[in-house]
Amino acid sequence: MNVKMSVVVRTVADIMVVPIVVFGIYLILHGHLTPGGGFQGGAVVASSTALLIVAHGAMKDNKTDLSNMESTGLTLFFLLAMVGLIMGFSLFYNSLAGTGGIFGGTVSGINPGYINTGGTIPLMNIVVGMEVIAALSLILWMMAKRSGSLEVEK
């Protein structure tokens, strides 16, 4: 079954994937400064998967990789939540905020926004973004495959 679209659609999809992924990663990394975060950025990156599936109708069998990525994201999220408990506070306590080092800067009042602030919150954004990218891509991949609109290359 040939489910490939025309060469124009495939070329434009290949070009457009790059800005979509870059914008999604920007949303994830700036989640503590601007509107956005792990969930939204992950959804944006997963939309590039939808674009590729619709345009090409074929994809490598990367179900295991995506499953591993999703499990890793959820586990790291819970471990980051446990950091507060290990350092002697409660669960989900932001114990890395304001301690210097990476993501340890301080802010107060209205400011232009500094990327190295936020403590555990940017790290949580990154791992949640990982999980959402993998989860939505896996859902799209599986539904496209089982409804017959995707050829799986071994």
Binding site: H32, E70, L74, F92, A97, N111, G118, I121, V128, A135
Partner: protein
């Protein structure tokens, strides 16, 4: 008969919902654009920069103050993906039918 029950249920639920909107309109100082109970949100707005050193207050609420909520949400997403993979797995009968 089933259709009549459905129509009655729809009319009753619609009446309750519109009645709720009218009730919110008649409140003094409440309703849309002027919420009354805001102590918790004022606390978040004032203290999230001190507590978390983060500019986006919504992110602070999502990942710090209501972190357990987000953990449950991530778990729901994980469970949904597990459910999709289980429902759409390749069974023996579908293998024989397709290929």
């Amino acid at each position: 008969m089933k259709k009549i029950i459905a129509v009655i249920a729809l009319i009753v639920i619609s009446a309750f919902l519109f009645g709720g909107v009218v009730e919110m309109r008649n409140q003094d100082g409440g309703g849309f654009g002027n919420p009354v109970e805001t102590e918790m949100d004022e606390y978040f707005l004032e203290n999230s920069q001190d507590h978390n050193q983060v500019n986006n207050v919504v992110t602070a609420v999502l990942f710090d103050y209501r972190g357990l909520d987000t953990l449950g949400e991530a778990t729901v997403l994980f469970s949904a993906v597990s459910g999709v993979l289980t429902v759409l797995r390749k069974t023996i009968s579908s293998k024989e039918g397709e290929e």
